[in-house]
Assembly symmetry: C2
Homo-oligomer: 193 residues x 2
Amino acid sequence: MFEVLRSHILKRVKMPEEEFNLVTSLMIPKKLRKRQYLLQEGDLCKWLAFVSKGCLRHYSVDDSGIEHIERFGIEGWWMVDIESFQSHKPSAGNIDALEDSELLLIDNDSMTRLSVSVPTWDRFYTAVLEDEFKAARARISDLMTASAEERYLHFVETYPDLFQRVPLHQIASYLAMTPQSLSRIRKELAARK
Amino acid sequence: MFEVLRSHILKRVKMPEEEFNLVTSLMIPKKLRKRQYLLQEGDLCKWLAFVSKGCLRHYSVDDSGIEHIERFGIEGWWMVDIESFQSHKPSAGNIDALEDSELLLIDNDSMTRLSVSVPTWDRFYTAVLEDEFKAARARISDLMTASAEERYLHFVETYPDLFQRVPLHQIASYLAMTPQSLSRIRKELAARK
DNA sequence: CGTCTATTTGAATGTACTCAAAAGCGGTGG
DNA sequence: CCACCGCTTTTGAGTACATTCAAATAGACG
């Protein structure tokens, strides 16, 4: 149950077993069925959610009713609406499950407690934040400079597992293009090679 | 000299004066003339740079030689190539000064030292990271959903100071459009009202 | 004043979009 | 097992927004 989390943490910091046990003792397991919300627009985001199984998406809906997927999350990823979690404001986005999923939730209080009692926790959290920040910057750069086709190719290369798992129209949404465009791009690429 | 930094820190954490003095004692002042590089593609980014005066930009150059501005930095902002700073890899981007500027640099060693001897430092750094992460997410969302005109309007609203200060073609670059497009958008907006 | 750079304008082009509809796929119930 | 339904993906035609290329105008600086 905690294996994915354990290797995720140990990849970043050396955390003794008893401290890791303290971490897991504070985490709340949660199962989500496909299509079930973890967070709905207007809710307060009270948790960081670690995905130990399944696949979620974080998306928002624009004025025309179109969904824009900001981020996917699979095993070993965290999901959170950082704006809401950190500033205690109602969330502007939604998080729901694309597959039946298993999460480990941790709230702000528990974070504070770990910060006090687990010496490596802060460094771990910082490392995660830095990784997320780097990923966000890479995404910005991609959106700024790459064509629709390039964005698709980068996605396939960067997230080969996701691209197998997630319906195409969801990938199109993540890549900021229409499903029609993605379909045409794939057709074109298939013809070319 | 340290006033901008002081208020920047105190906005986020309560830091006693003697601890703040420890912070400033580890920071290296640096002046940059307009057009001078702080970091050039291929360099290692060894510092976090706090802008106490002036204006910088962080940009990369694509295969066609076009500059893409990822981020501006004015008084009270940090500048860093996080990928290079954190992973000790050669930087893919450049940072240079759009105006004569004054910076306070801090390197990794000093960060570690502060982490040990200034109890609030880690929380401060985490808060900065979270802010940066939030800003990055807002930018992603904007790039994914907004038209060129909307991006420009958001920019003017979000950074009224920057938009007064920075040449239009630099803003165009930041907004991922050509200077020509921005010029036409401004003409159109002026005609409309 | 002359040079260099920034901004604006014009015309043609292209990438990705919208709207509309067909084809494909997967699950459910008769 | 097949027919039907809902949803995903593909295809077609027309369009729009932003781009490219080219050049004129405006502004800044020595």
